[in-house]
């Protein structure tokens, strides 16, 4: 199964990279951007065909390694 884990910074955590991107967009003349937060996307292929098992596995992967839950949130999506 194909799946995706999206990791984003928790609100309130300063994101200097997002701020820099925000500034760059503004200087490129891309108008109307209120704010930018940078995150990470992991596209993962899982051997199992079982949806619940895949979700559990990805949750484990995110908790153990992909996200640092002190500063980050994550979202697991099974794409099928």
């Amino acid at each position: 199964m194909k799946a995706r884990v999206t990791v984003t910074l928790k609100s309130g955590v300063l994101d200097p990279q997002g701020k820099a991107i925000e500034g760059a967009l503004r200087s490129l003349g891309v108008e109307g951007v209120a704010s930018v937060r940078q995150g990470k996307v992991f596209d993962i292929e899982v051997e199992s065909g079982d949806r619940a098992k895949t979700e559990a596995l990805l949750k484990q992967a995110a908790d153990k390694l992909l996200a640092n839950t002190v500063i980050e949130n994550y979202r697991v999506e099974v794409l099928g």
Binding site: V13, L14, P16
Partner: protein
Amino acid sequence: MKAAVLVFPGINRERDMARTLRLVSGREPAMVWHTEPELPAGTDLVVIPGGFSYGDYLRCGAIAARSPVMDAVRTFADRGGLVLAVCNGFQIACEAGLLPGVLMRNQNLRFICRDVYLRVETSNSPFTRGYNAGQVIKVPVAHGEGNYIADSETIARLEGEGRVVFRYSSPDGMVDPNWNHNGAINAIAGIVNERGNVLGMMPHPENHVEAAIGSTDGYDLFAGLTDHLAKAA
């Protein structure tokens, strides 16, 4: 002192660290590869050195923190063993859960490589017994992610329990945003764990131990540790 210096792929400060340990303690440290499930018998100090373990992939220190040797380090620290974690080592220690908080990208987004001043906040630690509280030392930093943060509850605990050991300061010991190079919360440069046996710090005391370099301000950290371990033995 029977020190073990951990070696991960991408680490590049382990030889500076080994040289300093040898110079100050007179004993050769063991170099321990990250796949080792155990530390050498009799180890009384574990050093997690600086560098760029796993190319800083994913998050600084994240992958190194999950290597087999870190399980051994966790057991060692749980038994009260001393762990000195410098720079990438500090990031690894945080990722491994040995220390609270996270080292984020420097506030100015630049890699900072320069000498900085640190105010020693306490001499009541095996790591700082060679200094006086309030003393200012000059040591180098070299990092892009040294901006320490933690949730407000953790920061309050660290401050309340006197676990902030080093703070970025001016040469005369004033804590001021202009001297807080990476934007760390409360200008935190180094902290210890609850038990006080694990120190994480971004600056590199191991690089200022010889007069030929221009400053020997890092020497007393290692001399204090050597002395502490000699007395404990």
